[in-house]
């Protein structure tokens, strides 16, 4: 009779802890694999956390407002068809001290003492831009209430130095940690090539002309599909470098670097991109960007991209020199698509060209394989009708 534990997920190599914001389920509720059961606040904003086990919630171990390390037990559940064990496991055995985060890194000197906060107070704090981590409750019950938030907001207004947006400074820290780790540990190699896009864009323009405006596709989906299919040919670029060895990705989950308004970025995954149609990829991309900029991402999207794709062409840059997001082993970059003189078969013509680059982890792959990958991306983009 198995009891399963639902743990605080790791939503990226840079995450050490998360704050449980809300439960979407109650003890006794049936849950299905993939269901969003909780909301967790991380350095990258609030994330919908999915559960990966069918069953029934037995006990919610962590209460809203609590900040716990990655790997801590958030809840226990009983698998379907099993009944709850008669003997209740003592509280302590369930809520054991959380395991250390998997990433071996010095712990921050001081983890702020955690207080609980009422949902109303949290909402107010968000509205007023008050950093809830810095709050202490006035009441003896140790719970931060609306009054505490209001007091802090007033104090801030009364001339305390304005703090940078908490969320933004947190995200900055998360990016700093991940990128410093990348540059410290990953021996990057860089390759780049010009890819002739005339055929692909002409095909897309024809395709879009026949579609209603709401179903128009961006050329980014062609790039996603070509990258995903090319990774089938060069799988050593798709996966993770963990504990001194390459681990292939369980699927081709392309992390799309999406800039956020006001700074920062996240790179959530489009799952199994190699198996999806262009229309499906466009739907996924639209859904993802919309949620990055206005809603909420899911834990699986944050946790498991197997490669990152970044397209900075909108800003007019020609070439992207990528920094790999650990523990991934490659980042593919695309610049702007611009007209260039293009020599082919002894003739110079004006063509639309994009520069594709690969930043590869030299521990996991070599330049030769990286070159094979970029050549495959190029080849695939020359036959856009086959990317459908």
């Amino acid at each position: 009779m198995a009891r399963h534990e639902f743990l605080m997920p790791s939503l990226g190599a840079d995450m050490e802890a998360g704050t449980l914001v809300a439960w979407n389920v109650m003890p006794g509720d049936a849950v299905k694999r993939g269901q969003v059961v909780a909301v967790v606040e991380t350095q990258k904003g609030a994330i919908d956390v999915e559960i990966w086990q069918d069953g029934r919630i037995e006990k919610l171990v962590v209460e809203p407002g609590e900040k716990v390390p990655v790997g801590a037990v958030l809840a226990t559940l009983i698998a379907e068809g099993e009944s709850a064990p008669a003997a209740v496991v003592p509280e302590k055995a369930v809520a054991v001290a959380a395991p250390q985060p998997a990433v071996a890194r010095p712990q921050p000197a001081a983890i702020p003492a955690r207080f609980r906060i009422s949902p109303a107070a949290r909402k107010l704090a968000e509205e007023l831009g008050v950093n809830v981590d810095a709050l202490t409750p006035a009441a003896a019950d140790g719970v931060i209430g609306r009054a505490d938030v209001e007091r802090a907001a007033q104090a801030a207004k009364a001339g305390a130095p304005p703090k940078p947006g908490d969320w933004q400074s947190q995200m900055r820290k998360a990016i700093a940690a991940a990128m410093a780790k990348s540059k410290r540990e990953i021996p990057h190699y860089y390759l780049g090539t010009g890819i002739e896009m005339t055929r692909a864009l002409a095909w897309l323009e024809r395709e879009n002309a026949a579609r209603p405006v709401t179903a128009r596709m961006l050329y980014a989906v062609l790039l996603i599909k070509a990258v995903a299919l090319a990774l089938r040919e060069v799988p050593e670029l798709n996966g993770f470098w963990i504990d001194g060895a390459f681990q292939p990705g369980p699927g081709i989950h392309v992390g799309m670097a999406v800039a956020m308004r006001g700074g920062g970025l996240v790179a959530p995954a489009i799952h199994d991109a190699d198996t999806k149609s262009l229309a499906q990829l466009m739907d996924d991309l639209r859904d993802l960007i919309t949620r990055v900029r206005g809603g909420r991402l899911k834990s699986s999207e944050m946790a498991d991209p197997t490669i990152t794709l970044t397209s900075l062409g909108d800003l007019g840059v020609e070439t992207v020199y990528g920094v790999i997001y650990p523990p991934q082993v490659a980042l593919v970059g695309f610049g702007r698509i611009g007209e260039q003189p293009w020599a082919e078969n002894g003739v110079v013509a004006c063509r639309r060209v994009v520069t594709a680059t690969l930043a590869g982890d030299h521990r996991a792959s070599d330049g030769h394989r990286g070159a094979v990958f970029l050549a495959a991306v190029n080849r695939l983009l020359q036959e856009p009708e086959k990317l459908q």
């Binding site: 323009e205 405006v213 909108d314």
Partner: protein
């Protein structure tokens, strides 16, 4: 299809962009300069703006015409023409 004045169209365009880029002060936008850089919108935001304008104004905006939407003035001109010819 109701005929719309240029002022109405301008207001609708600005409303649409403001929903995408709430931090931008549209009073400071140079109406004859490239819009996308000033409002910092990417191709995804741009496509969304086109969809919203299509919904609000009932006009078709083919991809081939995107070039005419480079500036705020150009966008208003283009949509005004479309709105009047679509009556």
């Amino acid at each position: 299809m109701t005929a719309r004045t240029r002022e109405e169209i301008r207001a609708i365009v600005i409303d649409t962009l403001a929903a995408i880029a709430p931090e931008v002060d549209f009073a400071t936008i140079a109406a004859d300069k490239p819009l996308r850089e000033q409002v910092d919108i990417d191709s995804f935001d741009f496509l969304n703006a086109i969809i919203r304008l299509h919904e609000k104004l009932g006009v078709e905006i083919p991809e081939a015409d995107y070039g005419q939407l480079a500036t705020l003035d150009g966008t208003v001109d283009y949509l005004a023409k479309k709105c009047s010819s679509a009556v």
